[in-house]
Amino acid sequence: MMTMKMWPAALLATVVSAQWISYPTPGIPRTRDGKPNLAAPAPKMPDGRPDLSGLWEPASGGSLAPVAGATSTDPQFRDIALNVKGGLPFQPWAAELVKARRADENKDDPDGHCQPLGLVKMHLHPYPRKMIQVPGLLLILFERDTNYRQIFTDGRPLPEDPQPSYNGYSIGKWDGDTLVVQSIGFKDGLWLDVSGTPLTDAAKVTERFRRPSFGKLEIEVTIDDPKAYTKPWSITVNQTIALDTDMLEFVCKENEKDVPHLVGK
């Protein structure tokens, strides 16, 4: 059941991407034989900070350029706790909620109902995302349902009482070569993965973005949500650059036929 929900979307991307335009990505470093040198250093902005701009997808499970041995999606997309030693430090109610969601075949996963994924799950979604870094702002455009995120890097503080939203309100500051992004203001009841791991409106999410080479992006995500967890916990998302291609328009709601079949048990 869990996997089935993803199918219609996955199928769509495969069909339409064959018709999409390919246009060479500018500024790719090359090896002597002319191939893209993905191990070259990350590009820099005029202010000396790393430039995170580019089209990115999960290293194990993107939709554009599957690598050998990759699964169809990053396994953390299904179960975010996969690499968390000892499992997640759930509050008792949160553990019960996950159990109940799994027992009900995850039929209420917002993704299956064309609702936004929220920022954590979005990092793991197989469809590409484009990061655009300009002075004062890091913009992330997502293929999945034309969503976008603004991360303000102009020195503003976090608001005290932000409007609750799926993506929250994000500000970023550089710590050496790492962009540290803090976000608050989440809607209550978000899902962090397909399994139904919860996030509440008390959450503070910290993302540490690092581009160790031209072709790699590492995002360490720390969830500090005392309502749902007894202590903060972290995961790492690895993404790779996608070259000479672009995002498609994806409209989840158009001709949507899945929802009536998401009935649970």
């Binding site: 064309c114 913009l139 969503n147 409007q163």
Partner: protein
């Protein structure tokens, strides 16, 4: 008629009161310290105007009627399109895709004066983020050409170039499902090519003119009158999820 528009408007008003107000950087001021909206448009290092900012259409004139201010003979619709338009109006606009949380299409996406949009201008790419439906458009400024067989989409594929101080955006690859406007319910097809001319007249004003070239629907290309967009200071676009807790669609009964 105004079924969904009223509901969306109510949402925006309630929610925006809780949003963060953060001062917009780089506002020119008059002597008494007020924003000088008639100051010249800012320029980028390459001398081109910088269109970046949060903008909103001046009312809903063009959202309701894209041909506002034109004479009837300026917009000559082919007979099938006239019939379809009549049917849509008779059906009280109940089939408008936008009322079903589907994207506006181009150039309608610029026209709704209830929701702001944000332009972010970078070398090689202009991005427009729209608050309503959380949509974005990429305008490729890197010299690429529009391909001949594009994947049909609601917002099309767009390239841009400068004509003096005017950003000229060419869009094709549209899916032909979107309506051009709301009250007039004008149709278009996948043959449509849209040219939008964006000009930042002064610091606070953006003027947009759109040309509709769709020989399957209109006897000849036609061009809108000048649409005014105003800069929105000290605010931001919000997250807008049309499909969340959506209750309207069952009430949009077609006759």
């Amino acid at each position: 008629m105004m079924k969904y528009i009223g509901i969306l408007a109510a949402f925006a008003v309630v929610a925006s009161s809780q949003w963060l107000n953060y001062p917009t950087a780089g506002i020119p001021r008059t002597k008494d310290g007020k924003p000088n909206l008639s100051a010249p448009a800012p320029k980028l290092a390459d001398g081109k105007p910088d269109l970046s900012g949060v903008w909103m259409a001046d009312g809903q004139t063009y959202f309701f009627d894209l041909a506002a201010g034109l004479k009837p003979e300026d917009v000559t619709m082919l007979p099938w399109a006239q019939d379809l338009q009549k049917k849509r109006i008779e059906n009280e606009h109940g089939e408008d895709p936008l009322g079903r949380c589907l994207p506006h299409g181009v150039p309608r996406v610029n026209t709704n004066g209830l929701f702001p949009f944000k332009i972010i201008q970078t070398p090689g790419l202009v991005v427009i983020l729209y608050e309503q439906l959380n949509l974005f458009r990429q305008i490729f400024m890197d010299g690429r050409k529009l391909a001949s067989d594009l994947n049909p989409t609601w917002l099309g594929y767009s390239t841009g170039r400068w004509d003096g101080d005017t950003l000229v955006i060419e869009t094709s690859g549209l899916n032909g499902k979107a309506w051009l406007d709301t009250q007039k319910s004008r149709p278009a097809t996948d043959a449509m090519h849209v040219t939008e001319r964006f000009r930042r007249k002064d610091f606070g004003t953006l003027e947009v003119v759109a040309t509709i070239d769709d020989s399957k629907t209109y006897a000849k290309p036609w061009t809108t009158t000048t649409q005014k967009m105003f800069l929105q200071l000290n605010t931001e676009i919000m997250e807008f999820i049309c499909n969340e807790n959506e209750k309207d669609i069952p009430h949009m009964v077609v006759k």
